[in-house]
């Protein structure tokens, strides 16, 4: 079992090393063969490990194995140890599956691009880091994976580094997430200070045995600090600004890292730390509120975006907010459920967008598309499936996972009607902007540049096959958990019960009773379908039936529209408030004064000049002039004698 577990992580590392060092000399076929076998093997091992774990007599108790001592400093100890339970099972299988499909897609997508081997080396390295993150058995090792995925994100966003906007975007991503990481690190330190250990097994068993109300101050602080890391990594308010810019990277990167895996690390971390959050309801409330507001906020921005990838980026931010709402109201399994379904349909959306980009030689402006469903049937159909899924249309996966979250927001241990209503409205907005994108890109008359028209073609099999597989999962992944209201067994929720049960129970017992009467599950479902339907209808009216309407509305609501199109000017505010003063401070003070004057001038050049000066002074003694020698001898003798006599 311990070998299998480790074997999940090793193929991507090996692939990264091989392609990284020797890839330059390999032909493309070899590079992609190495790079795609790695996640394939990981997927295989993930499934084997899952099967082995399921047959362990100790199941569902977590399986932990320490491979070697990594850090040992006094009382602080962090081993390279892996932790496997049902949650890990879900994460490893989902991550490796989506990753494998995206690697296959990239073979076709990156064919004409330079740096083929570099791309796949980074992509494999990313997978290794992500798997480390989800299987780690202690916070420092998880942080290694956390930082590792951040590094790979930087490398991949800035993949086309000769382009200034790309390298700037890479820097922005890394630096903004770093801010969150400060919170994460502080949280881990505080946790160590409180428990004397950062090991999951140790801390979580202590937490489960802790009576409610104890250590609430410290635990709430830890919870908030850890969540700060999640705010950065999972692009929530106010640290979301890097994700839209991250679209500078190649589209498979956007699909894998910024939709399905890296950005979900924050959600995973919160879910993994459920035992801690169960004792800190205030921290969870902050998680839920942040998630909900972010979801709404990002959805409003998405309404007005014309760049397809940017629109999908804001959509991702919004959906991540949903996941945090799920965890924040105490239904961790709902958050993870949505994480899983979202991974499928969001990566599908990005890959389909990539397919469109290829057909239109890089065009991403929705205003310059239209009628593509005639020339790109497969892309159109898969995009449609994903749109239905994300809008929460009944029957597809998104409906079930979103419903689980909405029900939780209303009825969960920390549920609140305000969260519920805001989330439901956001669902309506989601349906609207997604169908708007669908209609603008694939339906109606073609607004494509005449020069590009003849080149519009469906993408090759290497790209469309993964699309079809993802579409399949976007439909069926929801059926692992049919809600009770529809007579289902909520299998997914029950499967993860052994992981989350104690925390959910604790939260239910300590939370205030829900206000008003709880609506039935069917009512929740019905309302969400209603809002989604309204969104679809408005999109249909605006972008298929009365295509003149949107421009008239944007003219009428000019102020609001400008606000949305310019993303509420948040980037500009940050630039003015933070970036510019920092830049000024750095240039004027740190660079000119500290670096140039103090270090270069005073210390480096200064010490050299002092030495030279001293040497110059001493040089005068060696004048070659005998009389001065005589004088020095006399002087020396007098001084010495004086010293001896006067002592």
């Amino acid at each position: 079992m311990e070998v299998l577990l480790l074997l999940i992580l090793l193929p991507p590392l090996a692939g990264a090393v091989l392609n990284g060092i020797f890839g330059r000399r390999f032909p493309q076929a070899v590079v992609s063969a190495v790079a795609c076998t790695a996640p394939g093997l990981s997927l295989l091992f993930a499934l084997l490990t899952a099967w082995t774990f399921a047959h362990l007599p100790t199941e569902p108790t977590p399986y932990v194995h320490s491979y070697f001592t990594w850090i040992e400093a006094g009382a602080f100890r962090a081993d390279f140890a892996l932790y496997y339970d049902r949650l890990t099972l879900v994460m490893t299988v989902a991550v490796t599956l989506v990753s494998f499909l995206i690697h296959l897609y990239s073979r076709g997508y990156m064919e004409q691009e330079g740096g083929y081997y570099r791309f796949f080396a980074y992509l494999n390295l990313f997978l290794f880091m992500m798997l480390t993150l989800v299987t780690a058995a202690n916070y420092p090792l998880m942080f290694v994976g956390w930082e590792g995925v951040g590094l790979c994100s930087y490398l991949l966003i800035g993949f086309y580094f000769p382009r200034k906007s790309a390298s700037e975007a890479g820097k922005k991503a890394f630096i903004v997430t770093r801010i969150g990481d400060v919170g994460f690190t502080l949280g881990v330190v505080l946790l160590f200070w409180t428990f004397g250990s950062v090991d999951f097994q140790y801390v979580f068993t202590r937490l489960e045995a802790l009576p409610p109300g104890y250590l609430q101050g410290s635990l709430t602080a830890v919870g908030i600090l850890l969540f700060l890391g999640a705010v950065g990594k999972s692009a929530q308010l106010p640290l979301y600004v890097w994700l839209p810019d991250a679209m500078e990277g190649p589209t498979p990167v956007s699909a894998l890292i910024h939709a399905a895996t890296m950005v979900t690390a924050g959600v995973y971390m919160v879910a993994r730390s459920h035992a801690l959050y169960a004792h800190a309801p205030l921290a969870l409330e902050i998680v839920a509120i942040t998630g909900c507001i972010t979801a709404f906020f990002a959805a409003t921005i998405a309404l007005a975006q014309n760049d397809l990838k940017r629109l999908l980026a804001y959509s991702t931010i919004s959906q991540l907010g949903y996941m945090f709402v799920g965890c924040g109201v105490g239904l961790f399994s709902a958050g993870i459920f949505h994480l899983m379904t979202h991974a499928f349909f969001k990566s599908l959306l990005f890959l389909a967008a990539g397919s469109v980009m290829h057909a239109l030689s890089g065009e991403l402006d929705l205003r310059k598309m239209g009628g593509l469903r005639h020339q790109m049937r497969t892309t159109w159909l898969t995009f449609l499936v994903a749109t239905l899924a994300i809008s929460g249309v009944p029957g597809l996966s998104g409906f079930f996972s979103k419903d689980a979250i909405l029900a939780g927001a209303r009825q969960g241990p920390l549920g609140d009607p305000r969260l519920y209503w805001l989330a439901t409205v956001t669902a309506g907005l989601t349906a609207f902007y997604m169908f708007r994108a669908l209609f603008m890109a694939f339906h109606g008359a073609s607004r494509v540049e005449p020069a590009l028209e003849p080149h519009v073609h469906e993408s090759g099999g290497k790209m469309t096959r993964p699309l079809l597989v993802l579409a399949f999962f976007s439909v069926v992944a929801g059926y692992v958990s049919l809600p009770k209201a529809l007579g289902g067994g909520e299998w997914f929720h029950h499967y993860l019960q052994p992981v989350f049960a104690s925390s959910e129970a604790l939260l239910s017992s300590t939370a205030a009773p829900a206000a008003g009467h709880a609506p039935s599950g069917l009512a929740v479902m019905g309302t969400s379908v209603l809002f989604a339907g309204a969104g679809f209808l408005l999109a249909y009216l605006g972008y298929v039936k009365f295509t003149g309407l949107p421009s008239r509305l944007t003219e009428y609501f000019h102020g609001t529209y400008q606000l949305l199109v310019n993303k509420y000017y948040v980037d500009e505010v940050y630039d003015w408030l933070i970036v510019r003063p920092l830049r000024r401070g750095s240039e004027v003070f740190l660079w000119r004064i500290v670096d140039a004057a103090a270090i270069d001038g005073l210390l480096v050049n200064g010490s050299a000049q002092a030495t030279a000066g001293a040497g110059n002074l001493l040089r005068r003694m060696q004048s070659g002039n005998l009389r001065s020698y005589a004088t020095w001898v006399l002087l020396g003798a007098v001084l010495w004698l004086g010293y001896i006599l006067l002592r």
Binding site: R619, Q622, S623, G624, N625, L626, R627, A630, T631, L634
Partner: protein, 100 residues
């Protein structure tokens, strides 16, 4: 009896004159004479102490000093003659090959 203080004062004055001449004079023969003067000033001091301590040690030491002075004068003058033959000058300021 001449007071010791007078002898020592004379010795110091002679030594001072010798030192001053050694530093300020240009002709190398003059400098040599000043060196001899300094040595003899020291001899005078030794003799004075020997007399007032009733001890012959000082006078014995004077012998040593005289011998050393003689040897040094011989060697030194030989060097000066050799240098004079090469440079054609007795001014110490002209002996400046070691100057940078």
């Amino acid at each position: 009896m001449v007071p010791l203080a007078h002898i020592l004062a004379l010795s110091v004055i002679l030594f001072g004159l010798g030192a001053a001449g050694f530093v300020f004079r240009r002709n190398i023969i003059t400098i040599f004479m000043c060196i001899e003067l300094m040595l003899n000033a020291v001899n005078l001091a030794f003799i004075g102490f020997s007399r007032y301590l009733g001890n012959l040690d000082g006078q014995i030491f004077v012998f040593f000093v005289i011998v050393v002075a003689a040897a040094e004068a011989a060697v030194g003058l030989a060097i000066i003659i050799a240098v004079y033959r090469n440079r054609g000058s007795l001014s110490i300021d002209d002996f400046d090959s070691m100057k940078l």
